[in-house]
């Protein structure tokens, strides 16, 4: 009985979620573009960009929930995959600047001219083509996750040890990207973007389109995650999460399963980063900061681990709170508030917002079913006996 209800309630929340995201993806850009500026229902452009950022965070949160909520892999380095996707997009945007840069070099981005590069480093080849950059958005994070996972999962690094090496990974990348001679803009990162696929990145229309695209990517990511977790593979993932060694004794190659979801998840995080960069207009090494990855895990915990919808919701809610509190007098205390939030949620709502709601909904439904059953029994209808 219960699990059936569970899937039904998940389906219900999934439907609501998809409807809300689709509505936002259509209505917000339309309102921004079609309604007169300043009118009550018009969403101003700065909000479109801000909310677009939240949507990208929601995709990142989904990718974390896929591995943490369903397979028990707590990655504290997922910000690295997000940032790598962002850099891949940023490199495309840099090469679109062309002669419009300060130094007017048709091939070399400004920072390379400034650092006396004589020619384009090989790592930048191909990034003038959008399709190549888009491919790299998936390939670079995916390949890193594959190599990292191959080593870690095959040597059966799990639990807190795995979390620590994911932190080390993102920290190592942070240090590398900070270096000027690494060739990706050093601590300034990549910025001053002009256009994307020929459209001005600052233009209202482009921003609205990027927002709509982000919503589309969130929907696609959600559907992919749902497809994975509701397949038999999803059951194997949960088995790995709950009793990893038991799963091995049934003949499953646990490391292959982990590698698969970890790689898919990293690709999703990469896409989130790629959509994020044109909307915020900059990518720099601070995106690799270990704290960012930890924050993303907190979003998932707050929203509800292992629910997908909760992860996305958590990302939006926490980031909305962040925007709200960091713009006022409470700004210096935001990190303390985030920490307190995490502790409170862990203690009071261990299932997160959506998990708690689902549990409550199921139990109240069960109660109603029970009252109905007892009423039926009084009417003399025989109840099927449960096996004890």
């Amino acid at each position: 009985m219960t699990p059936h209800m569970l899937t039904r309630s998940l389906d219900r929340s999934a439907t609501i979620f998809l409807a809300v995201v689709a509505a936002c993806g259509i209505l917000i850009p339309l309102s921004n573009l079609l309604l007169p500026a300043g009118s009550f229902l018009q969403v101003p452009t700065y909000l479109v960009a801000l909310w677009g950022k939240y949507v990208c965070y929601a995709i990142l949160a989904l990718s974390i929930d896929l591995i943490w909520g369903y397979c028990g892999i707590l990655s504290l380095g997922h910000g690295a995959f997000f940032a790598l996707g962002g850099y891949a997009m940023g490199m495309y945007l840099m090469r679109q600047i062309g002669t419009r840069g300060v130094y007017g070099n048709p091939v070399l981005p400004d920072f390379m001219v400034f650092l006396n590069y004589s020619k384009l480093p090989w790592t930048w080849y191909g990034f003038d083509m959008f399709w190549f950059a888009a491919l790299m958005v998936l390939v670079v994070p995916g390949l890193l996750a594959f190599c990292f996972g191959w080593l870690a999962f095959r040597s059966r690094v799990t639990g807190v040890y795995l979390s620590i090496i994911t932190q080390a990974m993102t920290y190592a990348l942070l240090l590398a990207f900070f270096r000027n001679d690494f060739g990706f803009g050093g601590n300034n990162g990549l910025t001053d973007f002009k256009d994307i696929l020929g459209f001005n990145v600052q233009a209202e229309g482009t921003r609205a389109a990027l927002f709509a695209l982000s919503c589309l990517a969130l929907i696609a990511g959600f559907l992919i995650c749902r497809a994975i977790v509701s397949s038999k593979l999803g059951k194997v993932l949960i088995a790995v999460r709950d009793a990893e060694s038991r799963t091995r004794f049934l003949g499953y190659r646990v490391e292959s399963y982990k590698l698969f979801v970890f790689t898919v998840s990293a690709c999703m995080a990469g896409v989130a980063g790629a959509l994020y960069v044109p909307q915020v207009g900059i990518i720099n090494p601070s995106e690799f900061a270990p704290g960012n990855s930890i924050e993303a895990v907190i979003w998932v915990a707050v929203g509800g681990r292992g629910t997908l919808v909760g992860a996305a919701l958590g990302a939006v809610v926490v980031n909305y709170a962040k925007t709200f509190f960091t713009s006022g007098v409470l700004a210096p205390y935001w990190l303390f508030m985030l920490g307190a939030l995490f502790i409170l949620v862990t203690l009071l709502l261990p299932k997160g917002i959506v998990g708690t709601f689902n549990a409550w909904w199921d139990s109240s439904k069960e109660k109603r079913a029970a009252t109905m059953a007892s009423a039926a029994a009084e009417d003399g209808v025989a109840e099927p006996k449960m096996a004890e």
Partner: protein, 253 residues
């Protein structure tokens, strides 16, 4: 070992001179054991005798320091990992019942079915009538048909034991290792479990570890008594239980 003969032994399971030590503690000492195809063997012995550790060795969880472990006469199990050994056809029920608590009873069985276990196979899996029927049959056998949609975590201890035996049935291995199947069961349940294992033994080779002597007697099979990681006595239940050493270390308390 004869080089000309690929099958070193006719045995389903062959352990010889196996040693395992944990930080200098010798858990298994020169253990030798032979199990013929189709046989059922009961293993008894005091706590810490090494019964579970023996199963760990056979299923690849623990690597022996020394000794031979052959499956089906040809396969050296000491070189393989848990997954590979399970694929070869060795299934195991754990001492502490280990089922997937947050999944339903029937999903537990579905996960145990010996079908394609590859990532691609499970991602694109579609249930077949044959699989559904097999699950139905197992549910019937372990008397959990009514509970099929309940979460495994909500089952009683005895039911979890049965579910785990059911998972073994779904896995349909050549060799079943069953560690303390009747712990926490009522007398009636214990009796039913003995019947079930005897039924399973008609088509499978089985090793059962158990402390419950009534249960072991009911199985009516050859008994091996382990003590301090080595075989103390072997024979019929009457021979073993009248053995002085066995009485001294195990029975006669």
């Amino acid at each position: 070992m004869n080089v000309m003969d690929t099958r070193a032994t006719s045995a389903m399971l062959y352990l010889d001179g196996v040693h395992v030590s944990f930080d200098g503690f010798h858990a298994i000492n020169n253990l030798s054991l032979t199990l013929e195809p189709g046989e059922m063997r009961a293993i008894i012995g005091p706590n810490g005798a090494g019964k579970t550790t023996m199963m760990d060795i056979i299923t690849g969880k623990t690597k022996p320091d020394e000794g031979t472990v052959l499956f089906d006469g040809v396969t050296d199990l000491t070189r393989l990992d848990e997954t590979r050994i399970a694929e070869l056809g060795i299934g195991r029920k754990f001492q502490k019942p280990t089922v997937f608590e947050s999944q339903t009873v029937q999903d537990n069985l579905l996960l145990a079915l010996n079908v394609d276990h590859s990532v691609r196979g499970t991602l694109f899996w579609r249930g077949s009538r044959d699989e559904a029927e097999r699950i139905d049959r197992v549910l019937e056998t372990i008397r959990l048909t009514e509970a099929r949609n309940r979460l495994a975590g909500s089952l009683s201890h005895g039911q979890k034991q049965w579910l785990e035996i059911g998972m073994l049935l779904a896995q349909d291995p050549k060799l079943l290792l069953v560690d303390e199947p009747v712990a926490g069961m009522t007398d009636v349940e214990t009796h039913l479990t003995a019947e079930l294992l005897k039924e399973i033994n008609k088509t499978h080779t089985v090793v059962v570890v158990e402390h419950d002597m009534t249960f072991v007697r009911e199985l009516g099979v050859k008994v091996t008594c382990l003590h301090e990681g080595t075989v103390l006595a072997e024979g019929t239940i009457d021979q073993v239980s009248s053995n002085e050493r066995v009485i001294e270390v195990y029975l006669g308390r």
